[in-house]
Each structure stands twice: as structure tokens, then as C-alpha cells.
């Protein structure tokens, strides 16, 4: 994983897990998008927390399933992270290498008081390159050996 001379966005796939609208202030659970791990070795879930109202009970964990419909999903052992109501504007990451089932989903549990959240999936270790970015990841621009000048 040293210097590659290759853009990250050519070898890592990004997918909106929970958009800003989906994770807007509320005290109800929110389920992330379902991603297919076929062709990838690992997935890193980047979970950003905004304002959390005092008393909010919040946690995240990953679930996995053999089917895209996530019928009877299983929790991924050990992935639960509890988010204290003092963790406003911090970030939590679950980095799962070689999950055993093909489909993965982030679960965000919110209760008692409101929390604002956003999340993104980062799938890495691709079998085939370059990767194709997900719908919703609209503007990818790549640069090498940058110079100062007109933006």
C-alpha cells in the first residue's frame, strides 16, 4: 500500500451509505444502502456525526446477508460502536476486511433524542481495475503534479 502513482478513485469504489437527507436530525433508526462485495476484499464505512441532542442513544453496526434484499441479515460480529451524546461532529469508522457474506449494510440505531448522521462506503482491494463509481458519486476529477493557477 505504498506509493502507487495511481488515483484512489480508480481503484476504490465510493458509495453513499446514508445521505445528508436520509440522516437528517431524528431519533429513529436509519438503514444504510446495501452494497455488493463481489469484486472487493474490504469495506470501510465512514460515519460522520453532526449535532447529537443530550440524552440521545446512538450506535452503529454492520449487517451482512447472502441476498441483496437483506432477508434475515446477520450482525457482523464485534462491529457495534456506541456513540456518546457528547460525540458531536466526530467520525466513526468500521473497517471490515473479508466479510464472509456478499451483501453488507450499515445499521444506525437512534433513540430517545435526535442525532444527525451521514455515511459513506469505501470498497477496496478490487479484483478488476479501474473501478466504476456508484450512482450518486457524480463529480470525480483527478489531478497529478498540481500547480497553482486558475481553479
Amino acid at each position: 500500500m505504498g506509493w502507487t502513482n495511481e488515483h484512489l478513485t480508480k481503484r476504490v469504489k465510493f458509495t453513499n451509505a446514508i445521505t445528508i437527507a436520509e440522516g437528517a436530525t431524528a431519533s429513529t433508526d436509519v438503514e444504510g444502502a446495501v452494497i455488493d462485495m463481489q469484486g472487493f476484499t474490504g469495506v470501510c464505512v465512514l460515519f460522520m456525526v453532526g449535532p447529537i441532542t443530550s440524552g440521545a442513544v446512538t450506535h452503529i453496526n454492520l449487517v451482512q446477508s447472502d441476498v441483496v434484499g437483506m432477508t434475515n441479515p446477520d450482525d457482523l460480529a464485534g462491529t457495534k460502536q456506541t456513540i456518546a451524546d457528547t460525540n458531536d461532529n466526530t467520525t466513526f469508522i468500521i473497517d471490515a476486511l473479508r466479510p464472509q457474506k456478499r451483501f453488507i449494510q450499515l445499521h444506525c440505531d437512534r433513540a430517545t433524542q435526535a442525532a444527525t448522521v451521514v455515511a459513506e462506503y469505501i470498497q477496496y482491494g478490487a479484483t478488476n481495475l479501474p473501478v466504476t463509481q456508484s450512482t450518486g458519486v457524480t463529480g470525480v476529477e483527478v489531478f497529478k503534479d498540481v500547480v497553482a493557477g486558475t481553479k
Binding site: 500500500m1 505504498g2 502507487t4 488515483h7 484512489l8 478513485t9 481503484r11 476504490v12 453513499n16 445521505t19 445528508i20 437527507a21 436520509e22 437528517a24 470501510c44 460522520m48 453532526g50 449535532p51 453496526n61 451482512q64 446477520d74 450482525d75 460480529a77 464485534g78 462491529t79 457495534k80 460502536q81 461532529n89 466526530t90 467520525t91 466513526f92 469508522i93 468500521i94 473497517d95 471490515a96 476486511l97 473479508r98 466479510p99 464472509q100 457474506k101 448522521v117 459513506e120 469505501i122 477496496y124 482491494g125 478490487a126 479484483t127 481495475l129 457524480t138 463529480g139 476529477e141 483527478v142 489531478f143 497529478k144 503534479d145 498540481v146 500547480v147 497553482a148 486558475t150 481553479k151
Partner: protein, 152 residues
């Protein structure tokens, strides 16, 4: 290219614009300054929420010789215009070799005008010179291998 190690051991993640800082508004928002020392490259991920019709929005990357960005310099070509129809979409500026020796500090700039737009941003530094990467204090990471089903 199958990975044998966690991405969080080799990439550094940092908040560029928090959810609070990027809350709905029609004013510009500057991303946090980040030092590219130890990393050759950076991807700036800007995630947009609602963009009100008529909003005039764009993003760009800037560099500086100092953390305070006393004389910010635009990085050539990095401007991306964000249409007011792009609510809940993501935009990425991916830069290899950021001219670290001259301008070690970089940041994202989000230009908002006319109508409100909501956004947040995180930075992903990659191509580290020294491993493993160390995450900032506000980034809480847990790593798992060969994830089996069980109690979360």
C-alpha cells in the same frame, strides 16, 4: 489487487467540513487546513445534502505555505460546478502529488451563493511514506478481519 491489510492502516481520514459547519446556508465555507506531510496524495470527498433551486455552488482545492492560509492559492483545474439538481450526491477531488514541498497545507473551498446548500466533507490522505497511518483524535476506528456473523 486484493488487499491484505485494512485501508485505515494506510490511509489517513480527517474531517474537512463537519455537518455543523456545512449546515444549510448560502455563504461560503472553508474546509479545515490539512498538512500533507507523509502523504503523496489526497482525495477530498464533498457530500451534498439539499441544494435549493437557484443555488450557485462550486467546489475547488486550495494550497498554502502556512496553516492559516494567509495567502491561499487555487490548485489549477480543480473547480467543479455543482448544479442545483445534485442534491444528495458526492463530488471528489482526487490529487496525486500536491506540491507538498512548497505548499504543505491544502483545503477544500465550497462556494455557496443565492440559495441554500447543505454539505459536509472528509479528506482521505493516501500513498503514505511511513506506515501505519495515524488517525486524528476525532476519528474513531475499529478494524475487523474475516467478519463472521454474531453479536455486533
Amino acid at each position: 489487487m486484493a488487499a491484505a491489510e485494512h485501508i485505515t492502516s494506510s490511509h489517513k481520514f480527517s474531517i474537512g467540513i463537519s455537518i455543523t459547519d456545512g449546515a444549510a446556508a448560502s455563504t461560503d465555507v472553508e474546509g479545515a487546513a490539512i498538512d500533507t506531510e507523509n502523504f503523496q496524495s489526497i482525495a477530498m470527498h464533498v457530500l451534498f445534502g439539499e441544494i435549493v433551486s437557484g443555488a450557485a455552488v462550486y467546489i475547488k482545492a486550495q494550497q498554502s505555505a502556512d496553516e492559516a492560509f494567509s495567502s491561499p492559492i487555487d490548485i489549477t483545474g480543480t473547480k467543479q460546478v455543482v448544479a442545483d439538481t445534485k442534491s444528495n450526491e458526492a463530488f471528489i477531488i482526487d490529487i496525486i502529488r500536491t506540491n507538498h514541498e512548497t505548499y504543505p497545507w491544502v483545503r477544500v473551498h465550497v462556494d455557496r451563493a443565492t440559495q441554500n446548500a447543505t454539505c459536509c466533507c472528509y479528506y482521505e490522505l493516501y500513498d503514505a511514506r511511513v506506515l501505519p497511518a495515524t488517525q486524528p483524535a476525532t476519528i474513531n476506528v475499529e478494524q475487523f478481519k474475516d467478519g463472521s456473523s454474531g453479536t455486533a
